[in-house]
Symmetry: D2
Subunit: 350 residues, 4 copies
């Protein structure tokens, strides 16, 4: 029997990706679509301007949108789980309210750095699920909140994880991020035609702080941040989907590029071992061509869930440099949430 | 009286920029347009598809193109100087041939790293003009070759120069380079629409090697490379003109961002002191807005000759990070050549 | 002595173009910047995000914005004229209020089709200035309202005017319109990357109705619409500035393409005869190249005030087909207003 | 048993689409990959830079490319059919040589207007297959040549076919065509960024002439061109795939837009009746949204084989106007060829 899920912020672009990814999902079925007061009461197809190239699933289009509140959701359906694609500005209190009763797997930034909230990448730090117990005890909720990192952080952290074994000391990353990362309407076309915008609000801070929690160590009660220094410079480029990142790392063990490539290629995590439905066969794909990864050609690898790496080479200033690419609204958003929830099912938490 | 100049590779995009910049120049007049055998003998307006948004100067359009050889140029006009915008693949021997008789100021890469050839940025290393004497003695030429660095290197080096006083140790740079840097036809539109290409052939090597010669010290007979480590990752983005670079630097003196901004703002060189015609008032312009520099808005600062810097901030991994932007076919190509030649005139070399 | 002008809607993109074009204008000086309540009281440089590639004039940046109301404007300065760049939704009543006291030259659509309001293109129908007298009598205003047509209509109408002599019967036009036509923020980048949007709200109706009034005959009291049938299909393309239009016309006299080209080339109007400051030397420029006009290369012809025509050829279905291009925010907006006001000065109306 | 096919011009972009579409095809298997002398003898994966977002099929990558000549193909394999994706400049004699022995289904323009060669759109004019008999008799070949129309013509003609019943008199069409229509490398990025190019060599002539043959009547020995007048204006826009066309038609019967929409919706042809593998369920899909079809969202309808129509409305100048969109390298190229071949199989010709 499939678990019933609500999507919070269902009309936005990440909400739409959740619907797309959950279409025909073996373990979850979309039972509640929650959005702002303005949309509540409308048919989803009327409330939402669909922005994906796939078609809106017909049965979803006919569902009635409810308001994003515990009361409205409870009244609509006895759900097992809520995926939150709420805007950061309102996610904080709303997610807390709903978590009193239901598990919330959130893409929003509001609770990511809370001490008792997992900041989960299933391949990287499944042990942080242990924080749920801590959280429930402390907060007295029947539900809980678990969060997924920021989109540009997820793909970077997946590539940093296998580098930990080489003694990761420093990371410098310059990103070239896609338009869909800013949501809809997002970046005005007049701002980006024939242009690059070398600034994304709070993005560098997110990469620099979230990565340390993601790569940190969980001692059963709290996460100790990783002892790594990370510096980011974030840029918006005229690309629809797919964040590309130029990464420079300092590694104590001074591995060769070939050893680093092997570490990338051999990296697997719990989702692969458990064969979770949304898990890509390979979390990291290494390209041999000299001019890859490229957003348009590589963003859909592994159904958008693989991170694609290329140009692993010696770095004269630190140790190694490479490029990584991830689909920011799949692996970096909705797909991340679904994979997290799948891990929770496999671990008996849902 | 204005000096007569030849433009080698006059029909290409850099050649066109030379023509545009030299229009109405107080010291130089275009007397010879040299191009490939295919174009020789044709009117320039027939031989060339003009790719600039300004109009082709009428009198230039009516000139007859000659072949790029010493003999053809000598026959055409008694020139004082040749600007070379030749493709790298043929520049080597052709420039040598012409330099037997005439001074050659070259944008091509062929002779940049030759021990006795200046790699000149007038604001940064005017002393390298001293290599011309060395070169003439060694090679027995009446003329000489002086070179301008690679486009993405010039703008970076201009910003690195004022950082030398803080004890520059390491530089990491990730570039987002414009389409015009690849010439014409250059990058196919199908390759770059909705895409970024994280590779530009030999570009990283050029940045890493040329910068050391540019910032090196000249002892009267040779240039000792600067003791700095530079690492680059080069990307092509969907922008017409203007290379944007995310720069991370390690500085021994640990200056604050404000001190670095001051160093940028106060930086001037010989071209400013000598008030050379093409010299921008400020070689480096520092922007205060949080989202600048941007290629479309900032590439024409100082007539395309200023480097625009922004977001100077503390770097958690090294010391300071910032962005810099330069017009790649003006400051990075034709404008660089003209400024170099102006310096030579002012110094009595031409 | 220069006339004092107010700009209504001064912070928007058309308002900014007015400021740019009026910089150093011999007849007009910007004395009042009016905008919404939200901006009123702020320095212009704080109230406005400047979206043009030229710099905001310094003295303009220091002016204080006033509210867009008759009272606020009267209090600020005794102006001679107001240029309106107000959004269509609010222009109607506000312009009427201000016209009670002052002449208003408006880019807004609200009053374009009013019977007693000129819909002016100085080269095409200067006689419509006669409606101002009619209007003042009827409405009892000290000021008046005169309007400029919609951007895609102006450039089309300029090319249709010289075709009237051939017996213009039918016009079919398919437009490819620039992003700046939608204002700022305007078209979301996610909507237009790798895409065309074949719909612009109310645009086809504007072209179809306004053209008939523009080309109509004024009998001293009213304008009789031209007896021409016009059909438009309007599309948004990924271009910053410059509307391109594919035009097919039926002409009774069956002229050859050469005769039509001559008619375009020889066309001049009052602005050229009166040598108005903003008038382009040639209202219509005919290109000979087989692949022109192109927005990026031709939009700035005549300072953005010329319409560029190309590919005039026989049409197998009607009589003649051609392409025309105009700068939509210069000739199609702010430049149109300034030229209209210049004509009024020359005619003694201002 | 599947028929063995050769692909002529296998390394180009249309050749690649053939490979993609034929992957897993129930009736055809790719047995020979033919290309220029330069590629002959190489593994396909070495000879070809794959430009599609799908992966190159592994077994295809390992095949050895042969030269495009009858001799080389005969030596390689006993094929049943050749799909030609040859460049127009060389297709003429090469296709004739191969057709002496084998059926050739060609995307090239060389033989489209030959009197005894079908210009086939399976939904529109399956009866033109009758020309094959005429051709074989006249030329004495064991094989034959059948051609598919130009990409922008196919989609237009599919929408014109159901309008024939209303008495189609005149067609005016302005196209906005995708970059992939120019092949690879095709349009330089510097030409199309922030631009539209209002010219595609010979494209208007192709639309105007080919359509008449496509819609003509076959009397058993020759095709009498349709008595319709067609005029085209062709433009290149910055879109990867999908030609969009603004169409204006004069129809004797003066149908309402609703009647025209019904005619589009109800249109089916032989491929639908015969349930050919590549036939879309609906050759024409009518969109209700006011701003569709759009290339990015609609080009893949029906697996790229449906033509998407929208904005059917009254035309004040002629009778009806609408927009149509088709995937230019699927329905407009490789998919067209495969569907043609499927029809031949179903009709017993292959």
């Amino acid at each position: 029997m499939r678990r019933k899920v609500a999507i919070l912020g269902a009309t936005g672009t990440v909400g739409q990706r959740f619907i797309e990814i959950l279409k025909g999902h073996p373990w979850f079925e979309v039972s509640v679509l929650a959005a702002s007061e303005r949309s509540a009461g409308k048919r989803y197809s009327d409330a939402c301007t669909w922005r994906l190239e796939s078609e809106m699933p017909e049965e979803i289009g006919e569902m009635t949108v409810v308001e994003t509140s515990l009361k409205a959701i409870e009244k609509a359906e006895d759900i097992d789980l809520a995926f939150s694609a709420l805007p950061g500005s309102i996610a904080g209190p709303v997610e807390e309210e709903i978590a009193e009763e239901y598990p919330v797997v959130s893409k929003a930034s509001a609770h990511r750095m809370d001490e008792d909230v997992p900041l989960l990448i299933p391949e990287v730090n499944p042990e942080q699920l242990g924080l749920i117990e801590v959280q429930r005890e402390r907060r007295g909720w029947r539900g809980f909140i678990s969060t997924d990192p920021n989109c540009s952080t997820i793909q970077l952290a997946i590539t940093l994880k296998p580098l930990m074994e080489f003694g990761l000391k420093k990371v410098i990353v310059s990103t070239m991020q896609a338009l869909s990362g800013a949501g809809y309407p997002g970046v005005p076309s007049l701002d980006i035609i024939d242009n690059v915008i070398p600034y994304i609000r709070k993005e560098e801070e997110k990469i620099q702080f979230e990565s340390l929690k993601i790569l940190g160590t969980f001692d059963g009660s709290r996460v100790k941040p990783a002892d790594v220094i990370i510096s980011a410079s974030c840029n918006r480029v005229n690309v629809r989907d797919g964040h590309l990142e130029a990464v420079f790392v300092e590694l104590e063990a001074k591995p060769t590029p070939e050893e680093v490539e092997d570490a990338f290629r051999n990296f697997v995590g719990e989702p692969q071992r458990l064969k979770l439905p949304t898990a890509p066969e390979k979390p990291i794909i290494v390209k041999d061509e000299p001019d890859r990864p490229q957003p348009r050609y590589d963003r859909n690898e592994g159904g958008g869930m693989s991170v694609v790496v290329g140009r692993v080479r010696r770095d004269p200033a630190l140790t190694i440099k490479y490029l990584c690419l991830g689909h920011n609204t799949v692996r970096g958003a909705a797909g991340a949430g679904v994979l997290s929830a799948e891990l929770m099912v496999a671990k008996g938490i849902l």
